[in-house]
Amino acid sequence: MVGTRVERLVREKPWLQEGTGELRRRGRFRSATGTAFAVATLAVAASLAGCQGPQSTLHVAGREAGEMASLLWLLVWAAGVIWILVLGTAVYATGISRGPVDDRVANVMILAGGVFLPTLVLGGLVTWTVWTMSGLRVPDEQGLRVAVSGEQWWWRVAYEGPDGNPVASANEIRLPAGETVTLELSSPDVIHSFWIPSIAGKMDMIPGRVNELVLEPTKPGIYRGVCAEYCGTSHALMAFSVVVMEPDAFAAWLAEEARPASASSAHEGLALFLENGCGACHAIRGTEADGRVGPDLTHVASRKSLGAGILPVTQAALEEWITHTREVKPDARMPPYDMLPEAEIATIAGYLASLK
């Protein structure tokens, strides 16, 4: 009905046409943006509910991540309300309001919107922050300690073993659920940052320092951690698997991990491994291979990933890694062994795949 009335008006008073056209155009813009906004919000909400990858901060498996995920929602709602208020004021001020406004009203607006409300909201937020922070990352002196060193582009891991001796591992972190674990984070080369989004926030690994990070994993499962600080060419390829286990299962696993390699020392692959000098960089406990440069391979086949979270642990992946190291991971320190005969590669890979 309104439409026809406008049209009639335009017919009768053609000089209005331009103005109403502008009006209609604007109305269309508003409804178009409004619809787009609503659709986008729905789409985002739908995908949010669905998307819970193993590396998401919202796929909560730790106390800190849990607190931050709920804070996120609170902040998003508050931000949404503030945004609508500010933009609403702007739209009202530029498009709707007509006629002069009292100076007093304007001053109250500046004071209320610019000073009073933000001070109140931000003051509350800062108080909350300080209070929450004091409850997070409180170390448990009796708890498990794990030393993790970020190196280009993999992770050196050493657990405090059952007998007090360190247990060397790499590219995978296993944690007991419900316990407080302290990580000692360091780096021998450049700055990295240790991050398991599902469990807690990140902490940098800085050469010359040891930073402590306290984790409180809550939910058993398999997650993914990643280097968050740009650390050179293959920064994007520096991840690790995270396995949160029930405490008993964890204890059993650690005891197993502390044992030397399980595969037969008569395996032909071991001989080739040693013959080609792999042992100069890699250690396989229980064999002559005792290199410290690269990852410890004692139980490499029991891990969830290969090459620092980028390949599965399969015969094929092992062969690919050994022969095309720098295609898989640009500038990796390990040279590719593509000059070895295929059969030898397969034998070495077969041996490694048996290191459960």
Partner: protein, 851 residues
């Protein structure tokens, strides 16, 4: 100001004569004529230099934008191999570097150089040749840094250049040196521009424009100029330490020898956070000029806005640690910096609500500039709100270094800077070019940019929270990152296309389009006095201002201006002249002769650039030769273009007033420029001192027991001689002012000898104490302080020699003594540098030493 009605009437009667006015205009045209042909590039006038500067900054921005599109194309799908990891890392490093150093900050300088004099009714800025020098430096440095990517030699350590990744010469190559030296050069140019603009706002306002009548843009320029002065030098200090480590193996950031990579992070972010506001405030300044025009009423809460701008500037220096929340700092400092980071939202809010109040009270005329301003608000507020989130330290532990932060910073910078700048482009284009930009193209551009931006960057919030880190050249499939990344890529290309409309609108030929009407938006501020097409003289006559919006409030303002009924309506001697006024009340105090076109500044910039470029490639001979040539070019520029002895003491500036042509000491612009420059110099020096005490806090035994203190003799001798030179220089200034021209040269020669001896002794001191700078961070720190001091003493010697030569040439006399005033001022700061260095190096080990 004393107003002599009789004289004003006389002035008006005189200006009634059209023939006289025509003759005046011809003389002004001749004085301010823009050179033609290839000599065009010798122009130094703010309208030319400002234009080149703006165009170059936009060109660099387009280049950096293309890099961003490459980045987005690579990330469109998981496991993509469109570009190599190495190229990707160069691309994002250069994208960030160029957007920050070659666009966001320079565009402020560019626009301010272009607009500020016009807004202040001045004919030019006080040091046009300094602007030209700054521009050429910027161009050379920018081309050098950006060009590196064509030789696969671009920096790839991230725009923040964290060591040890970037000090490791095996992993960082020449790219890191290009970053450090190329950008140091540009930072020097930025400081030069800041000095120019600060003096411009303080001393070149038109008579009557008391400080509280200054257009808001002027206030913002002042605040941002001062911020540059204190924010850029820490980075320059960091660059110095960095290059010393890369070239000479001094271990500032090497933990094996006592260094600490975190020192760089502190210095970088002490620069880097204020930088955000250095970018944001000038854009808000444009909004502050646009809003009253389209509301057709004065701004609301002028004093609130000024206070808020100053407050933002202050607070922004106390937030840098929020970029370091994950470095393992103690929780108490995290809490403090969280609070400070939240606090900065308050002055920002005040500014936004003041603008909204003006819009509410006015009748808003909608047009393309307002469209971009509204879009800016919608985008920036989201960036501000996510900023409030990441300022919460524990939340930042999750969000830091993820795409959430990428989204946040782009919302802040594009909403807080790019959209307002485009609004400013549409708003000021008719003033600068005389033609309107197309509203149709402008609206199309706006909607494409607005929609493209949000489609591109909004999903990054989610993908960040879903765990995707920044600066990754690839990502695995299966984590739900595919859709948001594809959206981001599509949005980025839509956004870029929208921006191309702006570029096309700006560059398309407009020959047949009619000229825009004068003061097309019916604005109230002085820049809209500009005629269409504009004349090169800047202003026809320098207005007498009694209102913040003189075009709205002062009767017959434009007519009086056009008919030369204000100050300096003529250029009797056909020289370029503008008025200098007092800082608070804007009383006319000097008629300043500003220099005209020259290539000297171009050569000075070329050769100074040569020093940095040749040093990058370790071509030391070429670097030294280039340095000597640069020094010659600068001296020639100063000799022929500054402190010129006028042919008469004072001149008639109209309205019955006269003003001196020559002024020295604290009333002159040159003295202020030196003072302001040296404030920046001091902040670089104190950043080095900060380094010394930083090492003291991280090491239990710093300085190592007994180090440095065992041979204080040479240090003390050097310091004593340098302080003697300072005394001799300041005394020479005093005796010359007193008219004693006989004692002056003797004192200067004594000062030179003392300075030379002192410098030699100071440099010998750490060597005599057996300090090996490559062995440990302590000797390296002592050495760097000594070198800094010695270089300043060396520059002081050059200046003393210059004064001696000027004196011999009768260009420096008891009456005309600018040179010695400024050199004496320089030496005051050298004296502070010497005293602080000595107290730290010799004194501190006694009180704070370890062992």
């Amino acid at each position: 100001m004393k107003v002599d009605q009789e004289a004003i009437a006389r002035h008006n009667r005189q200006q009634d004569d059209p023939a006289l006015r025509k003759a005046q205009e011809e003389r002004l045209m001749k004085a301010w004529e823009t050179p033609t042909g290839w000599r065009y590039w010798s122009a130094v006038n703010n309208s030319e230099v400002g234009l080149w500067y703006t165009a170059t900054a936009f060109a660099f921005m387009l280049f950096a934008g293309v890099l961003a599109l490459i980045v987005r194309a690579q990330l469109a799908v998981p496991e993509n191999d469109l570009v190599s990891a190495e190229f990707f890392n160069q691309a994002f490093t250069l994208h960030g570097t160029a957007m920050m150093f070659l666009f966001a900050v320079p565009i402020f300088e560019a626009v301010a150089i272009l607009l500020l004099p016009q807004m202040l009714g001045a004919r030019d800025l006080p040091f046009p040749r300094l602007s030209a020098f700054g521009y050429w430096s910027f161009l050379i440095g920018g081309v050098f840094v950006l060009g590196s990517i064509f030789f696969n030699a671009a920096p790839q350590g991230g725009w923040f250049m964290y060591p040890p990744l970037t000090t490791d010469t095996r992993q960082s190559g020449i790219g890191a040196d290009i970053w450090l030296l190329g950008l140091s050069f540009i930072e020097v140019a930025a400081i030069a521009a800041a000095v120019e603009l600060i003096v411009g706002v303080l001393k070149c306002r038109p008579p009557g424009m008391r400080i509280n009548l200054t257009p808001l843009y002027g206030w913002y320029v002042l605040v941002v100029g001062v911020m540059i002065l204190f924010a850029f030098p820490p980075l320059i200090a960091g660059d110095i330490l960095f290059e010393f480590e890369r070239m000479l193996d001094w271990p500032f950031f090497d933990p094996a020898r006592g260094g600490d990579p975190l020192l760089w992070q502190h210095l970088f972010w002490i620069f880097g956070h204020p930088e955000v506001y250095i970018i944001f405030l000038p854009a808000i300044a444009l909004v502050a000029m646009i809003v009253p025009t389209f509301a057709q009423r004065p701004i609301f809460g002028y004093s609130w806005i000024v206070l808020a701008a100053i407050g933002t500037g202050f607070i922004s220096f106390g937030l840098w640690v929020h970029h370091m929340f994950t470095t393992g700092l103690p929780q108490i400092s995290l809490g403090f910096f969280s609070a400070a980071s939240e606090a900065v939202a308050i002055p920002t809010g005040v500014q936004i609500f003041a603008f909204l109040a003006a819009l509410l009270a006015g009748r808003v005329v909608y047009s393309v500039p307002m469209l971009f301003v509204t879009g800016a608000l919608a985008i920036f507020v989201i960036g501000g709100l996510t900023g409030v989130m990441v300022a919460i330290a524990p939340f930042d532990w999750q969000a830091h270094d993820t795409y959430f932060v990428v989204a946040h910073l782009h919302y802040v910078l594009i909403g807080g800077m790019l959209f307002p700048v485009v609004a400013g482009l549409y708003y000021f284009y008719p003033m600068v070019a005389g033609k309107m930009l197309s509203p149709r193209l402008g609206r199309t551009a706006f909607w494409m940019m607005f929609v493209g931006f949000n489609v591109g960057f909004f999903p990054m919030h989610f993908v960040g929270m879903w765990g995707m880190p920044r600066r990754v050249f690839t990502y695995p499939a299966g984590f739900g990152w595919e859709l948001p990344n594809m959206l981001s890529t599509i949005g980025a290309f839509v956004f870029a296309t929208g921006f191309l409309f702006v570029v096309w609108d700006t560059l398309r030929p407009k020959g047949r389009q009619p000229y825009a009407p004068r003061n097309v938006w019916n604005a109230g501020t002085l820049e809209w006095l500009a005629e269409v097409p504009d004349k090169p003289w800047g202003v026809r006559s320098i207005p007498f201002v009694q209102s913040r919006y003189p075009l709205w409030d002062q009767k017959n303002f434009m007519r009086d201006y056009d008919e030369g009924r204000f100050f300096l309506p003529d250029a009797h001697e056909v020289r370029r002249e503008t008025l200098v006024t007092s800082i608070i009340d804007a009383e006319p105090i000097q008629c300043l002769r500003v220099p005209g076109p020259t290539f000297k500044t171009f050569w000075a910039a070329m050769f100074t650039g040569g020093v940095f470029v040749f040093s990058t490639f370790h071509m030391w001979t070429a670097a030294v030769v280039s340095g000597v040539l640069a020094l010659c070019a600068i001296l020639a520029w100063l000799w022929t273009g500054t402190a010129l002895v006028p042919e008469k003491e004072e001149k008639d500036i109209g309205l019955g007033m006269t003003a001196p042509l020559y002024m020295s000491g604290p009333r002159s612009v040159g003295w202020w420029a030196m003072f302001i420059t040296m404030l920046g110099d001091m902040s670089a020096f104190f950043s080095l001192i900060f380094g010394y005490f930083f090492y003291w806090t991280v090491h239990p035994d710093f300085p190592p027991a007994g180090a440095g203190a065992d041979a204080p003799g040479w240090f003390l001798l050097g310091a004593g001689l340098l302080l003697a030179s300072w005394l001799a220089t300041t005394t020479a200034r005093r005796v010359l002012s007193a008219g004693n021209e006989a004692a002056f040269p003797m004192l200067i020669v004594a000062a030179i000898l003392a300075a030379a001896g002192g410098t030699a002794a100071l440099i010998h001191a750490p060597a005599a104490a057996g300090l090996d700078p490559t062995a440990d961070v302590y000797p390296a720190t002592v050495w760097v302080l000594v070198i800094w001091t010695a270089v300043h003493a060396g520059a002081g010697i050059v200046m003393q020699l210059y004064c001696l030569a000027r004196f011999a040439a009768r260009r420096l006399t008891a009456t005309y003594d600018i040179d010695i005033w400024n050199v004496a001022l320089f030496w005051h700061f050298v004296a502070v540098t010497v005293a602080v260095t000595t107290a730290t190096v010799v004194g501190f080990p006694h009180v704070g030493g370890g062992g």
